[in-house]
Symmetry: C2
Subunit: 279 residues, 2 copies
């Protein structure tokens, strides 16, 4: 059918990652397939409208591919979202963002998974890699112990911080800082004036293994954790997840998409995403 | 009476700050007097036992002065705590810690105030300066806006980060990271091999004004804020404050005091502090 063909086209466009370097693309494909392989029986196909799955701005300078796979009701996963954005910059360079995130539903209170690479020039890369907590870590020290201390998540943050080109990246949004876990990796990597070889080397030798290890922790200790969530906890999760998802769209996508794709297209894309972000 | 004399001795010992440099001591005295002047009519004298107000280890290598002033019941302040620690290091150098913190009671849900300077050598200083939130900032975005965004707290963090010798200080305790606000200043200042002149210059020209401005924000917008705290909110604050205070003693003082003063004296000091830290 036409719909099946469109779905296949959206998916293959997403998996193209057409504008990023080979190590960057390989990492994205490995992360996507690791999540999909583990939860294949749970995940439904992406059913976003075709012009949301792939959109190119009228003047042709910006493109976005979005791939959201919701899960069946028996799954701890609520949905998995992958994306890439490519934008030609007025300065002559280009901006490339690729992301993969996975949100659990309220039958499991474990942290979510968030991964994003932002390459704003051959010599500048921002990495966001975190398992954002779904409960207040101050009020629930056991939650902190189980998901962050016992899993030794901080060792991966420390490993990346040892690389000389790696600097902390401090987002201007205080809300995003508040949502982050204490082991969140928010780093900016700036290298000497080369053609991007050094950043690709850092992606291949450091970001690639660290990201896969953190995703492994998420899959084994969070997504597949056997958690008992009572009715009161569930109500709390639904409320807190709701705030995070709404604010994430508003602060993150809501601020950049209108600039990249114009207000109308941005609105259409964000409305389509919001359906999945509603708790 | 003997007790009055002992109280006066404890207080004057505290205000001596006998081992730190002039700009460091001046800053501590200014911060203490700013808080005390504003809340003089609320604050009761320190009534810690004399050997907790000032303690010197048997071998004479470590000294601590503690000054806790509880507040009368009409005050938004629960208590104000100041301290200094001096320890001679086996390496020949010395370690000096000075701190001032102020805790609000549950009639006011505004952030607390925390300030600490740790000088582990003439060329190495750690600064902790924060208004730690007393509510989960993810669930209460209005609280984030009122106390952190509207007060422009982040500008002070940014000002310090511009100084070339200033680096982020990442504590190994994930709990302390979780308690910190998104505008928390945790920095390590390491300078070239001089006699400490450069760090004293940074204290005088940068840390001094920034600390006073942040304390001013705390006094005007937190301690003196007119907040309506309902019964449910109050129960939440009591629970969350309780976890923070218990864990702070355990993680922060509980790990360093036994090493500096021996297990027995450390236990006596910590027991005396715990009385005030009980919510």
């Amino acid at each position: 059918s036409i719909m099946d063909t469109q779905k296949k086209q959206g998916r293959s466009k997403f998996l193209e990652f057409p504008f990023v370097s080979a190590p960057h693309k390989n990492l994205m494909l490995d992360l996507v397939s690791t999540v999909e392989d583990r939860f294949e029986s749970h995940l439904l196909p992406c059913s976003l409208p075709p012009d949301v799955q792939y959109y190119k701005s009228k003047n042709g300078t910006s493109q976005v591919s979005l791939h959201i796979r919701p899960s069946n009701t028996d799954s701890p996963i609520d949905f998995v979202m992958g994306s890439w954005v490519h934008a030609e910059l007025p300065t002559g360079g280009s901006l490339d963002i690729t992301s993969l995130s996975a949100y659990l539903n309220s039958s499991n209170d474990a942290p979510n998974f968030v991964f994003e690479l932002i390459r704003s020039s051959p010599t500048m890369l921002i990495l966001v890699l975190d398992l954002p907590p779904r409960k207040d870590l101050v009020l629930w020290p056991d939650y902190l112990k189980t998901f962050y201390e016992d899993t030794k998540l901080d060792t991966h943050k420390q490993a990346l911080e040892k690389i000389p080109e790696v600097q902390p990246y401090i987002t201007s949004s205080l809300f995003i800082r508040s949502v982050a876990s204490p082991t969140a990796i928010f780093v900016r990597i700036q290298t000497e004036n080369d053609e991007g070889e050094r950043i690709d080397e850092i992606i291949k030798n450091h970001i690639d293994p660290v990201s896969k290890q953190v995703l492994g922790i998420w899959l084994d200790h969070c997504a597949c954790a056997e958690r008992e969530v009572g009715e009161e906890d569930k109500a709390y999760l639904i409320k807190r997840d709701g705030v995070i998802r709404n604010k994430t769209i508003e602060v993150d996508l809501g601020s950049s998409f209108p600039r990249l794709f114009g207000p109308e297209a941005a609105k259409q894309i964000l409305e389509a995403i919001k359906e999945y972000f509603t708790v």
